[in-house]
Every structure is written in C-alpha cells, then in structure tokens.
C-alpha cells in the first residue's frame, strides 16, 4: 500500500498538499517515538514516523532517518515554519486527532510493521 492510500484509509489530514508525488512511496514500516534521539537511532528507513512532537527539529531528524512521512498524532498541528521546511525537504506531513496508540493500531491492521529486530 502506498502513502497516499494509507492516508486515505486512516483519514489523515495532509498539511503538505504540494508533495502529492511523494504519495507513491510504498509503506511497509512505521516507528512511534517522541524522543528525537531514538528516532535517529532506530526508525526504519522508508517508514512513516508517528509522533506528537511538532518541533522544527522533527523535520531534520526525519530527513536523516529517511522517513517517508511524519504523522502528527493526538491533534497536534505543526506551525508554518515546520510545514515550510518539510516541503523544502520533501517530507509529507499528516495530522490526525487519533492518539499514537490508535494510529499505530490502524496502521498495524493494514499490515504495516515496526522495526525488524
């Protein structure tokens, strides 16, 4: 399933509409964390990141960790500066009112898994 389909199935809101072409990326993995050091160390490349951290640093970290997209959960919404940086770095951003737990559950049901140990 690709990013666009995942977003549609979960009802995620996109905040980076300009990055439609990134939506073709195939998604098989995801990582949930609010600690940026943990994301850098452990997030599987090509996966989506689930977090409530809307800080500007999240984008830089997502780029380094080669994440396909960032989903901000629990109704957290990034500021414009963060959105602009994401567009610049070509990392799609999504938001949802669901908690990290519920979002993970829904992605898991679509067959997406965590880091391979």
């Amino acid at each position: 399933m690709n990013l666009e389909q995942v977003a549609a199935r979960l009802g995620l809101q996109t905040t980076t509409a300009d990055l439609a072409e990134q939506g073709h990326a195939e998604i098989t993995r995801a990582h949930a964390s609010d600690l940026l050091s943990d994301v850098l160390a452990n997030a599987p490349a090509g996966g989506v990141l689930l977090t409530i951290q809307v800080h500007l640093n999240v984008i830089a970290v997502a780029v380094h960790a080669m994440q396909a997209a960032v989903i901000f959960t629990s109704g957290m919404v990034p500021e414009e500066a963060v959105r602009d940086k994401a567009v610049e770095e070509k990392i799609p951003l999504f938001t949802t009112k669901d908690s990290t737990f519920d979002t993970a559950g829904k992605l898991y049901a679509l067959g997406i898994r965590g880091r391979y140990e």
């Binding site: 990582h31 949930a32 609010d34 049901a109």
Partner: protein
C-alpha cells in the same frame, strides 16, 4: 481487559507485579513526553513508553495508574522498580518497539475489522 491477557500478546516480562486487586485495563496510552503521560495516566490506563526512568513510577503513582510497559527490551533503573513497588504499579518490559507493541495491543483490545474506535 485484564493485564495478564495484554502481557501475552506482546511477549512481555512482568518485572513488578503491581496491585493485587488490579482492575481491568480500559485504555492504552503510548508516548515519551512526561507531561502528556501525566495527563493521560489514569486508574484504568496502561502506559507504553520508550522512557525507563524513575519518574515514570512517580507519575503512575500520582495518577493512580496501575501499569507501565517499557519497550525495546530496555533494562530499567533499579530505582524505577523500587519506586513502582512502593506505589504498587506494575512494570512490564516488552521486546518489541513502540509501534509493534501498540499494533499488537490495539489488535488484542479492539480486534481487526471495520469497527475499530
């Protein structure tokens, strides 16, 4: 749902048993920001986190939260276990990462299929 059932689906080890008359777990909250864990912790909540420090036990005790689940097979500070013992908080450690842990717990709690919360 009883904690014991949730323990099974995530292959967790119980490092600290918690209250004898622990009720059911009705909600799961996953995150790494102490302020949010504080807000979401409650008498029927299981907290899932990448953190492993003593303050988790303190937050659980203050908010009457019955159980903590640490992910990534982490080894917590002994002081966390002491504090948890004093506060009658159960401490689990699970070998999976947060995303995988949430996915499995969500599936066990709410099942798969269209009627997910």
């Amino acid at each position: 749902m009883k904690l014991e059932e949730l323990v099974k689906v995530i292959d967790a080890r119980m490092l600290q048993p918690g209250r004898k008359e622990m009720g059911e777990i009705a909600h799961v909250f996953a995150g790494d920001k102490m302020s949010t864990l504080l807000e979401k912790a409650g008498p029927e909540t299981l907290l899932v986190t990448s953190l492993a420090n003593t303050q988790l036990a303190c937050v659980a005790e203050l908010m009457d939260c019955p159980a903590l689940c640490l992910v990534d097979g982490v080894d917590p500070d002994p002081s966390l276990l002491e504090a948890a013992a004093r506060g009658s908080t159960a401490v689990l450690v699970c070998p999976f990462d947060m995303f995988e842990t949430c996915g499995r717990l969500h599936r066990r709690l709410y099942g798969e299929g269209p009627h997910r919360p």
